[in-house]
Symmetry: C3
Subunit: 134 residues, 3 copies
């Protein structure tokens, strides 16, 4: 029994996409049911025409060393980790309410986003598993 991992991805700073990718990929590789609900500023990271996400102000000076460390250690970009998770069965949903607020439609997102759903639908699917708010 591998269990279920549900991730509400809200934060949109560049650093937070790394644990999203790592946890989604690790969970899916373990055979967990993985569902990601993208909302808030994190929606911007899933857009077809996405720009570089900002680094958190408190740790800005560490960004170059981190990027270099990730390259040296052959850490895949978060986008590829989520893609791998999806190939192993994970799903990615965008929050319908925030899509309305930001005036985003299904066609504005890249191929990672499977569908636009409401928070209630997501909470229901998350029942009985671990749920993280990133």
């Amino acid at each position: 029994m591998a269990g279920k991992l549900s991730i509400i991805m809200y934060s949109g700073t560049a650093d937070k996409f790394i644990p999203l990718g790592v946890l989604a990929q690790a969970g899916a590789a373990m055979g967990m049911e993985v569902n990601i609900f993208v909302t808030g500023f994190a929606l911007l990271g899933f857009l077809k025409n996405r720009k570089d996400a900002p680094f958190p102000k408190e740790f800005e000076e560490m960004a170059p060393a981190l990027m270099e460390g990730m390259a040296k250690n052959n850490v895949a970009p978060w986008y590829d980790m989520v893609k791998q998770a999806k190939e192993l069965g994970a799903h990615v949903y965008a929050c319908s309410m925030m899509c309305g607020v930001m005036n985003l439609k299904k066609e504005d997102f890249g191929t990672l986003v499977d569908d636009i759903v409401g928070a209630a639908t997501f909470l229901q699917s998350a029942e009985g598993g671990q749920t993280l708010f990133i």
Copy 2:
């Protein structure tokens, strides 16, 4: 069986109150047992004499567009969403330790806060459900 949703509300930036309201309201409307434990900077948002919470520095320039989008889409203020959740049975507790540190008493809070409790009490009530740290 609708399950249980427990939310530890710590972050105090303005944006984070939106997912609090949405998730609490959606969970309560689904018939989930919803409990909110307010601590850290988020306590300031529940004060009787609360000021506008700050927007996260990294996304400050997006604040006006977001506010406009919420108004256009008739998204209720987070405060009203938590109130609706409470009318459906949700409870809101303030963290006793942080109230001590910030010198806050029950009468300093608005009507949303039901009581002041300790972290252990909250963790116990959260057992067996989904718990989020926002």
Copy 3:
């Protein structure tokens, strides 16, 4: 049945270490199985030669009052709360991938860190309990 509390400690700002300490200590004191997975910027707080963590930019002006309030209320430093949690059975693990990225080895950490493990190992151990992402 006391249950299980798993904490993924990612954020590295000074304030977030307080809920880590409080929740770990409260959970362990209640007899819960407590496991902490340290990753991202939070790794810096567990180093032998750690520096003061930055305060979040949005609430910087509140730092002195908070520190004073904690001293007046005899709130233990977070480090001591995690130590107490460990004396009650809690475990602290550092994320192997981020240790690689930041070029950190076991000997770079203080005595709080028990071991360096991967995200999959941690997710597996967290199964069936409450998991928080701080």
